[in-house]
């Protein structure tokens, strides 16, 4: 029934003169709940569904969306999308890069299908983690968890003949703890994500990780020293490598940002269409964005323009090699889409997005990297971070971090500040680990209206030589 409406929207748009049309039905079944201080604050259960229609007419784009799933409503929004596009009257017409028509049906396997897991079990799992935290006998007045699950069913059709069905279940867990010891306070949080079923929490070892975070925070409160200031070596764990890859490799290689389409919101980039294969890091640095990593939170096989997903080498051998593209940006830059178009739901246009962005792992163990450090810091996680909107000036402030002396991990240090330019960060890397952790996740913000989208933010451990820390 809804697939008929999607097909109808595409056909109707073409019959009304759209040069290109696509329609996307999405049904998202969310079950989210908050556990605060051991109490379930509230549980939100939403089944949203609707159709979004995007057309190219008169050289411009129009997008409309409705949750009113009748033929007359879909007809109206389709005609309105065409009217909106024609009303834009662009001087430079929007074009789409050529792509083959695709017929596909893909889904993500669930060892424990979300639909089969009761609310009782889900709630008890998280409340149980909270109970174990309390059992540590630390003073943790702030214990905050949000557990998200989402089952996303889509049907995509376009006027070039693509017809794609998909089912993508996802689970996320966010926690935020406030720990006190002797009048001093430490806060920590993390965000885990998984494409698949309820096996997620076991796969990412959520319980162990939360408890370990509490132990390390208390250790920092009890024994933490001021982090060394000045030039020294830095061994950065998977979370730190992950956020750096996302912020200073993934975002600046988004082609829509490079072309100025996001300038007013998420910003532009230090990369321009003319900068070519600029060197940005050392030769050991490869940073990829790969939607096809099974069970990573942003797993997909075809993007929301019907383009097949593949691994993209954003930085290779320390040089910028590829931008993230959708069909619109690819046409401007004279290339092909690499399947990076995504939307948060049926009521948003698909724009260029990262998926699972990470430093490509190599062959070191963390121990091997630490062994060769005379003096430095081993920073495993962070709290505060930010970067400017051209993606050049980044900052990551350590949460769990330790001093390294003569190749050995010593006591904890607090608030290590890594405030480096993108080039300074990536140029300092001389070793990349094999310990890829891709279940660290985040909400990647972009576009207007805002589209906070699942993104994997993990990576392997990396080593930076002789960088300025505070």
């Amino acid at each position: 029934m809804t697939e008929d409406l999607v097909d109808f929207a595409v056909e109707h748009a073409r019959s009304k003169g759209a040069t290109y049309a696509e329609a996307r039905f999405e049904q998202q079944t969310n079950e989210d709940f908050v556990v605060r201080g051991g109490v379930v604050d509230a549980l939100d259960s939403t089944e949203s569904r609707g159709i979004g229609v995007r057309v190219l007419a008169g050289g411009s784009l129009g997008f409309t969306a409705t949750n009113l799933l009748t033929r007359s409503d879909v007809r109206e929004i389709t005609e309105r999308a065409i009217a909106l596009a024609r009303g834009a009257k662009r001087k430079k017409p929007v074009k789409f890069a050529q792509e083959p028509a695709v017929t596909a049906d893909w889904s993500v396997p669930e060892a424990r299908p979300l639909a089969d897991v009761s609310v009782e079990e889900r709630v008890e799992e998280i409340v149980g983690i909270d109970r174990d935290l309390v059992g540590l006998k630390y003073k943790i007045p702030g214990r905050f968890f949000t557990c998200y699950s989402n089952r996303i069913s889509k049907y995509f059709a376009n006027s070039e003949g693509s017809r794609i069905r998909s089912y993508s279940p996802r689970v996320r867990l966010y926690y935020h703890l406030t720990l006190i010891k002797g009048g001093d306070v430490e806060q920590c949080n993390e965000n885990y994500g998984w494409s698949g079923g309820w096996e997620a929490l076991e796969e990412v070892k959520a319980r162990e990780r939360v408890l370990e975070a509490a132990r390390t925070a208390i250790n920092a409160l009890e024994h933490g020293k001021k982090s060394p200031e000045g030039k020294t070596d830095l061994v950065a764990g998977p979370q730190v490598a992950g956020i750096a890859a996302h912020e200073s490799c993934g975002h600046p290689t988004e082609a829509d940002r490079i072309l100025g389409r996001e300038a007013s919101q998420a910003g532009k980039s230090f990369i321009t269409p003319d900068t070519g294969s600029m060197r940005i890091g050392s030769k050991v640095v490869n940073v990829v964005d790969d939607p096809t990593m099974e069970h990573a939170i942003a797993y997909y096989q075809y993007d929301d323009e019907g383009v097949k997903a593949r691994r993209r080498y954003l930085y290779r051998g320390g040089k910028v090699t590829e931008f993230l593209q959708n069909r619109e940006t690819a046409a401007v830059l004279g290339t092909r889409s690499n399947g990076a178009a995504r939307a948060t739901n049926y009521d948003r246009e698909a724009i260029v997005r990262m998926a699972n962005t990470f430093v490509e792992p190599k062959d070191y163990t963390p121990e091997e990297m630490i062994k060769d450090v005379k003096h430095g810091v081993y920073m495993k996680s962070f709290m505060e971070w930010n970067i400017d909107d051209k993606r050049w000036n980044g900052k990551y402030v350590g949460r769990e971090a330790y001093l390294i002396e003569d190749g050995e991990v010593k006591g904890p240090v607090r608030r290590t500040v890594v405030e480096l330019t993108t080039k300074a960060f990536w140029s300092a890397i001389d070793a990349v680990g094999k310990d890829l952790e891709l279940f660290h996740a985040g909400w990647c913000g972009k576009s207007d209206p805002g589209q906070a989208l699942d993104a994997a933010l993990g990576g392997p451990t990396i080593r930076l030589r002789n960088v300025y820390l505070r």
Binding site: D41, A42, L43, A65, N67, V123, A424
Partner: protein, 437 residues
Amino acid sequence: MDDLAEKIVTTALGFGAKDVVGRVIVDRNYQIRFSQNEPAIANEWRKTYGQAFLNYEGRIVGGEISDLNQIPETVGRLVKIAKGSQPNPEFVGLAKGPFKYRRLASDPKVVKLMDGSEYVQAAIGGALEEGAKETAGSFWRYHEQHYLHTSNGASGSEVNAGLYLSIRAHAGPESSGHGVSCANRKLAFDPERAGHKAGRIAALAKNPKLGTPGAYDVVFDPLIAGSLIDQLGGRASAYSVAAGFSPLAGKLGKKVASNQVTLVDDATADTLGCRRFDEEGVPVRRKAIVQNGVLKTYLHNTSTAKKFKTKTTANAGLVAPSAHALILEPGDRTRDELFQDVRDGLWLTNTWYTRYQSYVAGDFSTIPRDGIFRIKDGEVAEVWKDIRLTDNLLGVWKRVKGLSKKTEQVQWWGEVHVPTMAPYALVAKVNVTRSAM
């Protein structure tokens, strides 16, 4: 739609729930995004959906009703889900109605607006006239109808309609400015002025040099002042306080800002945040969050108010209360007088990416963007780039030295979530850092 909101409530009561809120939202928002001086895409939404919130034997559940023909099925599913959850002893129910609401009339010219192209062109034209080369932004016509019914006797509806334009102008790769225009009435909407402001700042920001770390007196333009106001007002939610996301915990009745700072939440004021009632149906009212620097109240719904032994401030959020419209009361200085007070400092025009190392301590950093200007003896002496403010939220507010007499309504993507009336603000000794090369 009133009847559908009521049907959500009666259906849930029929399933044995209590403390039920039924809402129906009719969304007819319209937007034009533009970039490189041209429309990029025009969007329109045609959505009509419900929301249900209920208490089933102490278990709190909410959710969207995407298909209003399926109210019994959806509410029944929510009740079933509630049975599997656990009780929340901190939830104490909804405010008791019925209530009377003030009149709130939307501008029919806004509601009927079908084409915003001329506003986009006016904004772009304004920026280019000032010397900008490239612009990007969004025009919005908001039009939403809300219908609310609660099991505790509240019932009402409202139409929220307004116009908004945000424009960023570039005069060079690293020379940019930002302007916004917000209005509930068509006559008060001035996107051209926003364009001029963005273009003027961009043109002034040419050839920036690297900034120098240190502590500076800073004049905050209303847009970036709005970000700091958003942080203070947002952290005043009682939920944020209770969950460990606020430096305001334990500070009721204490100084959290300089004497000059009075911050109110007022959904009765003529801003894009004006409304008739909160999510429990309680009539909105003006209240001081901070008065002359002293924290007077957190923002509450009925349950957080009970926990903090006070009354609701009409800021529900059924789970987490939040501000509707923030107003930093104006000061007694002109903009020029504030600048003249700066012997050696900065003028910042916008920021983004505000993040905390510790919410309870209020230690944060944020990255100024668009025009960053060194001020010497009240005049622009240099253009800077690539700096970061690394400071403490309450520390910044305690160091406010002066506020302008005039305020501007601001709201912006990512940083100023709540419609805000912001003056120019002069703050002493703001800590500036910079990334190492």
